[in-house]
């Protein structure tokens, strides 16, 4: 093999060589996304472009959901007989109850909207494969959990809508019986805590609302695991924009009034019932697709999302991961501090020079091949194999001669 050189690095090995097939289509979309950014950057300073902080905005909305949810929980009674009246009580009587319910509702809507935008942006700007497989796959789990939490949230109110949704879900599950034995009926029974909605049903729903919400915290931890300093909090301007939008929505769009589950539906059908397009889309699709159809579509979508980081995979992976020259490393930690992907561990006692406590060691799986550590090291101890610092220096000299 020829010795590594900049020329070998440049043309084909470069991570951005996306000039063939599907990659070329993605590259076109990437350029489109960046063009939109450029437009926004004309209006507001680029450091505050909300599109750069979609993940952080999702996180802000999630954090908004927790205290508002706890507030609602103070008043909520998870029984079919009392749930509806307890929700009505907290909305109409409890000071700020209506507003807080609105905040909970609209930050929930905002969260899934932002999560989807965040996902699309990461996909279209090629931030999803290679070393980003862990954030991507955990992100898909987060999306699934968010959807589940949102949908069960609508059941907790136990109004006409909740009953319709519950009936639809039960029917969808039961329609699976033909495909997977009695599993569908079993799941429906588990969901309702019986054959019919009864006083224990809402305890199940409540568990399905709060349980996955707790799991979200766990998967967020996984989501941020590979990032050294994830942009969890956007700049103040963007945070205020996010919170402000939700407060505004809660102020001008009070939560719609519904009727208790026990009230029979008006004869003109479900036309007066409002469905949330973000969380109840699968339910809305039920009449057309049928239970098995909706489940199949969801399975297909999430199945594809889960394997997206490997379609097409990053071909140049591991070609250019940083390597340390132990003799030069002083253990100063500068590279480990600057690495955005937490890919450098400082190993105690490994340094060939006994006077230096630690040695920088690169974790190949986490390394993004960005070279930020190269710029950080004052001691010529860390380099990218295909773009070594001496190669660059030579090139600087050559270009200037």
């Amino acid at each position: 093999m020829a010795s590594p050189s900049l020329d070998r690095y440049d043309p084909d090995q470069a991570p951005t060589a996306r000039d063939k097939g599907f990659d070329k289509v993605l590259d076109g979309i990437h350029r489109g996304v960046v063009a939109v950014d450029r437009f926004i950057n004309r209006v507001i300073p680029e450091e505050f472009n909300p599109f750069y902080y979609l993940g952080g905005m999702t996180n802000v909305l999630w954090i908004l959901l927790v205290p508002t949810g706890i507030f609602l929980w103070f008043y909520y009674k998870p029984t079919t007989s009392d749930a509806f009246s307890s929700v009505n009580y907290l909305t109409a009587v409890v000071p700020f109850g209506g507003i807080i319910r609105g905040l909970h509702r609209y930050s929930g809507d905002g969260m899934i909207l932002m999560a989807i935008l965040h996902m699309l942006r990461n996909y279209f700007t090629d931030r999803y494969r290679g070393f980003r497989d862990v954030p991507w796959v955990s992100g898909v789990v987060l999306l699934l959990l968010t959807g589940l939490v949102g949908m069960t949230g609508y059941l907790l109110v136990w109004d006409q809508r909740a009953l319709i949704i519950t009936t639809a879900i039960v029917q969808a599950l039961q329609s699976l019986d033909g495909i997977v034995g009695g599993l569908g009926s079993f799941m429906a029974k588990a969901l309702l805590a019986g054959n019919e909605p009864n006083n224990l049903t809402l305890a199940r729903m409540f568990f399905l609302h709060v349980g996955p919400a707790v799991l979200i915290f766990f998967f967020l931890w996984v989501h941020y695991l590979r990032l050294h300093r994830p942009k969890i909090w956007p700049p103040m301007f963007v945070t205020l924009l996010t919170v402000g939008a939700v407060v505004l929505a809660a102020g001008i769009l009070p939560i719609e009034k519904t009727l208790a589950a026990g009230v029979p539906l008006a004869s003109d059908g479900s036309s007066s019932i409002v469905y949330d397009v973000f969380y109840l889309l699968p339910v809305l699709a039920l009449p057309n697709l049928g239970g098995a159809g909706v489940l199949a579509v969801l399975l297909l979508i999430f199945g594809i999302l889960f394997i997206v980081p490997w379609l097409p995979r990053k071909k140049h992976r591991y070609v250019n991961v940083a390597f340390v020259t132990p003799e030069n490393c002083t253990g100063c930690q500068l590279c480990a501090i600057d690495c955005p992907f937490d890919a450098i561990v400082m190993v105690e006692g490994a340094n060939p020079n006994p006077r230096n406590k630690e040695l920088a060691v690169v974790n190949d799986d986490k390394c993004a091949e960005c070279g930020i550590c190269v710029g950080a090291c004052p001691f010529h101890a860390i380099n990218l194999p295909l773009a070594g610092e001496d190669m660059i220096k030579d090139k600087v000299v050559a270009l200037l001669s």
Binding site: R31, D37, E46, Y52, R229, C370, L400
Partner: protein
């Protein structure tokens, strides 16, 4: 260990700072996620239409060692720029913020040491992959600014070395998104 030693041939130092098109030599480090993959740069790194501006493609603006900036000035470069993606949109999340920090420190060091006379000789550009026109516009401005400065004294350690430290405001430095 730097191979970047400069020939001390006095006669040829006269025009060493000029490129073949008679304009001051400028070198740029270009992030391949930013404009690095557009065809406004020739294979050999020369920017189309700017014979005197050479570029080196790099994986991320945060990859740039400030040492290379010094090496460039020691080898008769009259201006150095780093091109990264818009701040906040680094493909590697933090590269452009990091180089922004490192360069602001390094430029102070360079001016204090009198390696360069004017902080404006180092420019940072933060542009997205579609910003061709902004890129050429910024280069045009940068080039014109460098032309307005007296040639950098040859980096040979001599009394004449200290060119006047005109501390003009640097118009092109950090000329991201605008323009």
């Amino acid at each position: 260990m730097t191979q970047a030693t400069v020939s001390t041939d006095k006669l040829s130092t006269e025009n060493k700072h000029l490129s073949s098109n008679g304009k001051p030599k400028i070198i740029g480090f270009v992030c391949e996620w930013s404009l690095g993959r557009n065809d406004i740069i020739h294979e050999d790194g020369t920017v189309k239409g700017y014979e005197h501006i050479k570029t080196i493609k790099i994986p991320c603006s945060g990859f740039v060692k400030t040492e290379w900036v010094t090496v460039a000035f020691e080898n008769n470069a009259q201006g150095v720029f780093v091109l990264g993606c818009p701040l906040g949109d680094c493909h590697f999340n933090e590269g452009n913020f990091i180089i922004n920090e490192r360069l602001s420190q390094h430029v102070t060091r360079l001016t204090n040491r009198k390696t360069i006379d004017d902080a404006g000789r180092v420019a940072e550009l933060y542009l997205g992959v579609t910003a061709d026109t902004e890129f050429t516009q910024s280069l045009e401005d940068f080039s014109r600014y460098i032309e307005s400065l007296p040639p950098l004294a040859a980096p040979v350690k001599k009394a004449k070395g200290a060119a006047k430290p005109a501390s003009k405001a640097a118009p092109v430095a950090a000329a991201g998104g605008e323009a």
